[in-house]
Amino acid sequence: MSVLVDSNSRVIVQGATGKEGRFHTAQMRAFGTNVVGGVSPGKGGADQDGVPIYNTVTDAVAATGANVAGVFVPPPFAADAIMEAAAAGVALTVCITEGIPVLDMIRATAFVKSTGTRLLGANCPGIVTPAQCKVGIIPNHINKPGPVGIVGRSGTLTYEVIQGLGLAGMGQTTSVGVGGDPVMGLRFVDVLRLFAGDEETRVVVMIGEIGGSDEEDAAAWITASGFAKPVVAFISGRTAPPGKRMGHAGAIISGNRGTAQSKIEALTAAGAAIADTIEDVVRLTAERLETRVA
């Protein structure tokens, strides 16, 4: 099993004819994703590398039965693309675009909530269910099927964990990158809830970073909901000096809120195992898988 995407996912790519959209459409298809179409206003009717292009998401959904949309359109148009996909009724929209104005995302997330669509991102690496479906930009070759559910904020650090686990022989049910924007779709808690309902996910690895309070919220939810699966957590930015904005909006410490220490304490209290390094993530995950088997 898996969460959010699987071999039944029929994917369209919004912005498929742009530089990034085209490159990653090809990567997704090489992975084995069932990419059924692309959307590029004004280019409807075209065929790009064997993928039919439509003018609107509604046209694409009507013609292909698509149920997942990947958004690769530039920041000024991305929030509109997210809303277009939700209005067309896809089950999941994955927005990769980085740099979308916050007020646009406030409107887009509010709109998406009023529909039945789930939104992942924006500014996220996407989602992979190994051997079945990838939507986004996570490198193809690192993913393999297995019993670990991964959810991470930082894209590249999530890749590190996927690769580290994979090299040690541990594959994933699904890897989900929620992204680092201040206003976003699915959060840690939402993804943990999905993993709770996925029988094949036996251990969850959570990759957090300083800033915000999503890790603390996840810890509170783990305790409150009685989440039964072992959680291995890794927090980056432990040595970051307070008050310095480390890259995107997510990673800033203000006061005690959002420090690595506060996140580690909250997650420890919730029973999660804290990894100090990627190597630790691998070791702690392996230990928990063995315990579960025994």
Binding site: I106, S154, T156, S213
Partner: protein
């Protein structure tokens, strides 16, 4: 992008929010002239940081002589690292009561939050901590915006905590609804992530006047506000950011996400989380990071070259650790940038490159052909760069 007080207030005024009459002054003489024109004035340091009142950056004066003397004193200050280049001199307000009116981003709710408190002034943060019920909030629908009834409810709830204002609540609420509606529209029109009036001064005449102004614009939305960006870079420019770290200022000019640190191992990576982890790894292996530099997603060869050049500007840097996990960023592009930088800039300091992910094989080939052997893991790379840069000489 943070506006200075006077820049924010000019926008408040244009939106129909009352501000005290004022002028900008850059010398003691100019401040004295404003005092001659406006009478009793407040002389206020224009710095992009809070806490200036407590740091001595504000003085209320009655005469042109005092205005000159205080202006010269404040212009010589450095407020939390920021030198003072400009003073906003405005008519001193007669204050009956200080309120708070602000809009900011609430990440947890994913909306703007509109906040009113009857306990405005310098200690609003303490009030929010110790008596949160006195700081009342609403989260307007992002499509409809705040409706008058919502702000009315908010205002009555906030005023219920101020005994002294109870009799005038009806009249005050009308003013707060007007100011709140206008401030929210202003925030949305400017893509503001923070838009705040603290204190919002209630004068003895019963009017509400902005005693201070804070406006911070979303960097992602600057493309929609080119006029404003141009205007501010002329007025605020490098002069008013002179308190900034010179390396960080240079990085900003180069369009790079860079934070200057105290160590000697240059660090470059793609993705904030990965770069933070790169810093953590350097520290775990006994080294001290010199910087945080995130080339971001999809960085091409030129950006990587620019990044390497930037990091090496700091003479404390003894070697550079480049940590790339390709996703939307491609290994071959990064490798080309590294090789170009090394050749063009004649870099002789050690470079340790760890590269994996999208187009990894092509990237390794380019690096190896140029005589740079990439490390296989981030841990190994951290150990190598720390060993190569240990020993003190730079």
């Amino acid at each position: 992008m943070k506006l200075l007080e006077y820049q924010a207030k000019q926008r408040f005024a244009a939106a129909g929010i009352d501000i005290p009459a004022g002028r900008l002054a850059r010398t003691g003489d100019e401040a004295a002239a404003v005092a001659r024109e406006l009478g009793r004035i407040a002389v206020k340091a224009q710095v992009p940081i809070g806490g200036r009142g407590k740091a001595g950056g504000i003085a209320v004066v009655d005469t042109p002589e005092d205005a000159r003397r205080e202006a010269e004193r404040i212009l010589a200050l450095r407020i939390r690292g920021y030198p003072v280049h400009a003073l906003w001199c405005e008519q001193a307000l007669a204050i009956d009561h200080e309120l708070y009116l602000g809009i900011t981003l609430d990440r947890d709710r994913g909306r703007l939050v509109l906040i009113v408190s009857a306990s405005g002034g310098m200690d609003i943060e303490q009030v929010a901590e110790s008596a949160p019920e006195k700081v009342v909030k609403i989260w307007p629908d992002p499509f409809a915006g705040p409706q008058p009834y919502e702000i009315r409810q908010l205002a009555f709830a906030a005023l219920a905590h101020a005994e002294a204002l109870r009799e005038r609540a009806g009249q005050l609420v009308t003013g707060l609804v007007r100011a709140g509606t206008r401030l929210y529209a202003l925030a949305v029109a400017h893509d503001a992530l923070t838009c705040e009036i603290n204190p919002l001064v209630l004068t003895p005449q019963g009017t509400l006047v902005a005693g201070d102004g804070k406006l911070e614009i979303d960097e992602n939305a600057e493309y929609r506000h080119q006029d404003l960006v141009a205007e501010l870079s002329g007025d605020q420019g490098d002069a008013d950011r002179a308190g900034e770290d010179p390396y960080e200022a240079e990085a900003r000019r180069r369009g790079l996400t860079y934070v200057h640190l105290d160590g000697y191992v240059g660090c470059i990576g793609n993705g904030a989380g990965l770069v933070m982890n790169t810093l953590d790894l350097v520290k775990q292996h006994g080294g001290e990071p010199a910087d945080f530099l995130d080339v971001g997603g999809g960085a091409g060869a030129e950006k990587v070259r620019n990044a390497l050049e930037m990091v090496l500007l700091d003479p404390n840097v003894r070697g550079v650790f480049i940590n790339i996990f390709g996703g939307i960023t491609r290994g071959d592009e990064v490798a080309r940038g590294i090789v170009a930088a090394r050749d063009q800039l004649h870099i002789t300091k050690p470079l340790v490159v760890r590269m994996t992910g999208t187009n990894e094989a092509e990237g390794r080939q380019i690096l190896e052909a140029a005589g740079i052997v990439p490390a296989t893991s981030a841990t190994e790379a951290a150990r190598t760069i720390v060993a190569l840069t240990a020993g003190g000489q730079s």
